[in-house]
């Protein structure tokens, strides 16, 4: 077993510490080819880049997938944003949740399930 924060070299937060939301979506930048060639990246970094290439993933999904605490995933994603290997799309800001058309779409989507 590896102590989880060993992967972040003991860091528990990150410079872009705007608290990535659990449902913020991580997307691999299209220009990224082979992250494994970048030796500054840990296997977990590489895995995130690979996972988010075809299907952008939420922070919560990445944490579950990599079996890592959310805090660790936030630090790792922060590193990748700095390296411009991924970008993060923020969830709908609360102020825009009142946008009725989104809510109507959600209701219709739920009904159609």
């Amino acid at each position: 077993m590896v102590r989880p924060y060993a992967m972040t070299r003991g860091r528990t937060n990150h410079a872009i510490q705007h608290r990535l939301d659990l449902i913020a979506v991580v997307v691999t930048e299209p220009h990224v080819d082979d992250p494994e060639e970048d030796h500054s990246l840990s296997p977990e970094h590489v895995r995130i880049v690979e996972l988010c290439r075809e299907d952008p993933q939420s922070v919560a999904e990445l944490a579950a997938d990599l079996d890592l605490p959310v805090g660790v995933v936030r630090v790792l994603v922060g590193d990748l944003v700095d390296e411009e290997l991924v970008h993060v799309t923020r969830p709908v800001p609360p102020a825009e949740l009142v946008d009725e058309s989104i809510l109507r779409d959600v209701i219709n989507g739920l009904r159609a399930l």
Binding site: S58, A60, V92, I102
Partner: protein, 201 residues
Amino acid sequence: MILGRSERGKPPVEPVTLKILVAGGFGVGKTTCVGAVSEIKPLRTEEVLTEAGRPVDDTSGVEHKTTTTVAMDFGRITLREDLVLYLFGTPGQDRFWFLWDELASGALGAVVLADTRRLEDCFAAIDYFERRSIPFVIGVNCFDEAAQYPAETVRQALDLDPDVPVVLCDARRRDSVKDVLVSVVRHAMTHATEHRRSVTT
């Protein structure tokens, strides 16, 4: 800057994501409820706590244990390729309120699941959402072995505002949970309209 198109073809769709919380006491069926509608088996994320847990945790005998793990179960519903709804079961223990803050920020709304045999278990959650003006509905999980009460009786027992929807449901049934979620979104819409009105007048 001109955004380049992916050389591998179509760039992946970056969906708009929303979340609804599922709260309620221990064993009331939060994970069952998430699992009933989720397209994936509910996943578990963990938050490892260090300093934060210390003042309240009695660590006598386990002084070396400086971390606590809090698990949150969640599910996903892809409504459209570009619209994804996540459901998060809140951690059961009250002392993890600070994690609730994180979960609740930006949440569309919440379901508070209630078991009529121990209604008091959901008081804390109701309080929490009321104080933060987060729209919520009560989902009365109708356990087979529990006596059934009409929604109005539950409303009175919980001393709810008249506009809070109370829905009887079965957390195991997909259709039933879908209905509860629809009522959360509807309530969020009304809530938003009223909020706007109170701001402008």
